[in-house]
């Protein structure tokens, strides 16, 4: 199992992904944003950070990096792609996932551990039982997810809402549980096929127990199990 982590100018969480995946016993190598060959990888991760300084909009410039054309082809062929934080923003800008990101409702950069509820979805990166609550840190200024009501209904119907911000007991507060104002408390979504997954929280930071928790591990082990099953 070989992960590839794309480094855009301004990415800053790529080392966390490398550490997490290697900790779990997988191979992981960096992919430069100008590379145009990702054929040696089983899964691609777009890491967190501030690609291209987040100028214009978060992810707006990174989506045109040479490597992204390859990542799109890889995803269209069913290859698993994970976008964490800035990676999620890039996936939205590239229209590989629906919707877009706004600045956090309170205009504050939020960096803290949050409870998240696993929703029933088609996502290949999550095999946790529906309703499981995991604790994973968020670390962003633009995680206020938004999409049209039609898109939201469509995503719900197709099982594309993967993670929601919630209260510690797994319920959602009447006024919303998203610390960033995200629509319908959405923290992570996938495409129709379930191979492309974007989330604002950082599961790679909750893999090595030294980080005070291991709730991020299933996100990496799930896709590896899934690929092993497919390979039969």
């Amino acid at each position: 199992m070989r992960f590839g982590v794309v480094i855009f100018p301004g990415s800053n969480c790529e080392q966390d992904v490398v550490h997490a995946t290697r900790y779990l016993g997988y191979e992981c190598e960096y992919v430069w944003h100008a590379d145009t060959d990702i054929s040696g990888f089983d899964a691609i991760v777009l890491p967190g950070g501030f690609s291209y300084g987040d100028y214009i909009r978060t992810g707006a410039v990174a989506r045109f990096s040479p490597v992204m054309a390859e990542v799109m082809r890889f995803a269209e062929a069913g290859g698993p792609v994970l976008g964490v934080c800035n990676g999620f923003q890039i996936l939205c800008e590239a229209h590989m996932l629906p919707g877009a990101m706004l600045r956090n409702r309170g205009l504050k950069f939020i960096c803290r551990e949050v409870p998240l509820r696993v929703e029933k979805s088609v996502c290949q990166w999550v095999d946790l039982p529906t309703g499981t609550v995991v604790r994973i840190p968020i670390n962003h200024n633009e995680g206020n997810y938004v999409c049209s009501p039609d898109t939201l209904a469509d995503m719900e119907a197709k099982g594309q809402v993967v993670l929601r911000y919630c209260e510690p007991d797994g319920t959602r507060a009447p006024g919303g549980s998203a610390p960033n104002g995200s629509l319908d408390d959405i923290a992570g979504i996938c495409n129709e096929r379930g191979n492309v997954f974007g989330l604002m929280p950082h599961p790679e930071r909750m893999v090595d127990p030294v980080a005070n928790g291991t709730d991020g591990q299933p996100f990496f082990t799930s896709i590896v199990k899934r690929l092993a099953d497919v390979a039969g």
């Binding site: 707006a60 877009a100 706004l102 956090n104 409702r105 309170g106 205009l107 938004v146 104002g181």
Partner: protein, 82 residues
């Protein structure tokens, strides 16, 4: 050479966090007449003359300068200096 000014704003119905904050701040300053504040982006382009100039500027907006999922834009062409 042609000059274009582009105004990018959030689509109707999209919550604008900086705009809402400015709206509250103006109310706090006593400007009770303010009913709504929207904050957007302003882009200046200088473009070499050529065929389909405006079409290409629109294309630039759709691809990069604005995100059609959440933003609208207005293009203004001005022959005068900025």
């Amino acid at each position: 050479m042609a000059r274009y000014e582009i105004f990018v704003t959030y689509k109707k119905g999209i919550f604008d966090p900086p705009g809402a904050t400015a709206e509250r701040a103006l109310a706090n300053l006593g400007y009770d007449e303010v009913q709504s504040v929207k904050i957007g982006k302003y882009v200046q382009l200088e473009v070499a003359d050529g065929p389909n100039a405006l079409t290409r500027v629109r294309e630039m907006c759709d691809k990069l300068l604005a995100n059609p999922v959440i933003e609208d834009y207005r293009i203004q062409s001005d022959e005068k200096d900025w």
